[in-house]
Symmetry: C2
Subunit: 205 residues, 2 copies
């Protein structure tokens, strides 16, 4: 069921035998992750779904503020209300589940230059960076379980965020960051080979 | 050498036997990732270093713009010039290598509403989100190889970015996004257990 390809064969068409070395298994997973945009009608086991969210919540965050929350959706009859005229609608409706990854743009803590002062609610400087890591963790776990997903951006596009925020009843300081449809792949999407040594500089640009 | 702990034992002190199931290996890796802030004097094999950067470049990016570049540093005599009075300096100087993950804030392409028009250089709407995923991929590969690292923010802090950009000679549209010191762990940092089911909502908030 799990079809993680070997590192050296990450771009081949057929699933490959799985590496015994855990580092190779991790590398193969990272190199096999891909955007999957069509899904079978199969549902996702609850235990797998929990592990996907465990992976997401294991992301790092600046000063460990953990600004994330998740809204899990599978009632497609509500998607027109929730996602408006989002151009990814057909993908959302075909998927087994849609996870809306939300980020709190504020944090409640003492001022940085006065740790003994009372905690106040203030803008977070790094919430958006944290959310990128959360989303990537989710996508990597999806790949590991033989599922497929596609990261679709919500933030910073106001026209996409507005209906989601309204329909899901998000708190004032919470924004819908990314929308991730997940399901078992119906097609045979392959990972892109993006390795480009010219992007690496040593000592200086 | 690889010390990925089993999923069920991610918060125990001793390294655990490695799971044979690749999905378990991937989950264990994600749940074992941690910030490591002290390092031994050991250097990182070139083949491992290449795989770390392969993992980073396998990240997704909005419309596949791949806005990333990497500056790899190990000449600590230059770090005062490069990092100024960054409060993470002692960690940088102790690590085997520092990777400065850079992002191009612009993209050259036709206007979104007119794909047949000539390509023009324009701000990227998602480069920052892409960089979060790149950084997380690097950190997960670091963990897989028994190395340790710590994501330190550079963008959006102007006082941290300025000396890096100047000293490394970054192009005008490229910013230093994150600074990641990497080395073999000298201590026994453990991953945080951040699992919190109250962060998950079903159907609506």
């Amino acid at each position: 069921m799990v079809t993680v390809a070997l590192l050296a064969a990450a771009c081949q068409t057929e699933p490959q035998p799985v590496a015994a070395d855990p580092a190779e298994a991790v590398m193969a997973n990272i190199l096999s992750r891909k955007s999957v945009r069509s899904y079978t009608a199969d549902t996702i086991p609850a235990a797998v779904m929990e592990n996907l969210l465990r992976a997401a919540m294991a992301a790092p965050s600046g000063r460990n503020i953990q600004p994330w929350s998740f809204v899990v959706l599978n009632d497609t009859s509500r998607y027109d209300e929730i996602f408006g005229d989002n151009h990814n609608m057909s993908m959302f409706k075909q998927s087994a589940v849609v996870v809306v990854i939300c980020g709190d743009t504020t944090v409640v803590r003492p001022p940085r230059d006065n740790p003994d002062a009372p905690a106040v609610q203030q803008p977070s400087g790094t919430w958006r960076d944290d959310m990128g890591a959360v989303t990537e963790n989710l996508l990597l776990a999806v790949e590991a379980y033989g599922l497929g997903a596609c990261w679709t951006a919500c933030y910073p596009y106001l026209d996409r965020m507005a209906p989601v925020k309204q329909a899901l009843g998000l708190p004032a300081t919470v924004v819908p960051y990314s929308v991730v449809p997940i399901g078992y792949p119906a097609g045979d999407e392959q990972p892109k080979d993006k390795w480009d040594p010219s992007r690496i500089h040593y000592g200086r640009w």
